[in-house]
Symmetry: C2
Subunit: 174 residues, 2 copies
DNA sequence: AAAATTACGTCAATGATGTTGACATATTTC
DNA sequence: GAAATATGTCAACATCATTGACGTAATTTT
């Protein structure tokens, strides 16, 4: 008897939002639960690869963003991840000791530690991204690629707005 | 200088998948990152409400599924959450002691502990669901409600398939 | 040039959530 | 009666997060 998640979510019909409804409409349990299960499986597969290196989800996030923005500073990474210096320090130390990440002093500001992936780090990052990419690609194919912009828009709308309309160029991919 | 996440994700253009590309297409970093940020904010807001009760995300998941499926057994809940008995026991104890959840012995099988929310528990569950519902509703409105089925389909496709095609009726909402 | 600020590293302590494995108890099933 | 099942509980541990304090080097301000 395996989990009934999928069925549980799938079984629940979308509450047809009645515009005249005086009582608050039922919560959209279907999408709430789909988000939960989708995200869990979306990160679960990478988790299993990371385990082989003794890493966790936190390491994944770090190498992902260093991969995306080579030369990222520690402060920028803290801003992106919204965690504390301590939390980052631990996983960063693991990644540096394991030769997945290297640091270089900033050219202009030599206090800064610019972060880069080593070849080894890039290989791991690419492997993890490939897993998530494939999963996404399958899902996009299922709904038809022409609907991909809608997905992006929907997800973007879920994100808190007050954040990061800031320096759009600061981290632009070179 | 706040986080550059949103912009970082938004800035990256979707790699136009070239069908003839011999080299593997670039990972879909945009959707990968949007999923990360969207999920973080999606659960972040409830987290702040839960904090006031001294609860965490694990408590949220438990009361959510008990709310959805009153009379759920412990074993069923374990199947849904895919955590261990110990992990569940801790949060369940908190919720029972705090009078958010109550247990009743099963009528047919008296070994089972059927789980129900108290009025207090239902109030909290509803409050949490309302937050997530509003966020989703805003996002659905932004893309046009006619595209909601596409979102549901996309998310469902992200979920591991091998699971839970099983007893679709077992947990059907009464 | 001295003072203040910034970027980063690190230490200690703590909390929430997850894990494994073992064992006890009540109940149902064979 | 024996075996299997549903649940509870104990001990020990791992990961990822937190706060607060302090130190050092480099840059900026005065």
């Amino acid at each position: 008897m395996k989990s009934t998640l999928l069925s549980a979510a799938a079984v629940a019909p979308a509450p047809p939002a009645d515009p005249r409804a005086p009582t608050p409409a039922l919560p959209d349990f279907e999408l709430i639960e789909l988000l939960f299960f989708a995200y869990r499986d979306f990160v679960g597969e990478p988790d299993r690869l990371l385990e082989r290196h003794g890493f966790g989800r936190a390491h994944h996030r770090v190498i992902h963003f260093i991969n995306r923005h080579p030369g990222l500073t520690v402060a920028e990474l803290l801003d992106i991840l919204e965690i504390t210096k301590q939390s980052l320090a631990r996983v960063l130390k693991d990644l540096i000791h394991g030769d997945f990440v290297e640091q270089k002093a900033g050219a202009e500001d030599r206090r800064q530690r610019l972060l880069f992936l080593t070849d080894k780090g890039r290989a791991l990052a690419d492997g993890l991204a490939a897993m998530q990419h494939q999963r996404i690609t399958r899902a996009v194919a299922a709904i038809g690629p022409e609907h991909r912009p809608m997905i992006a828009r929907f997800l973007a709308e879920l994100i808190d707005k007050e954040r990061g309309a800031a320096p759009a160029t600061a981290l632009s991919t070179p």
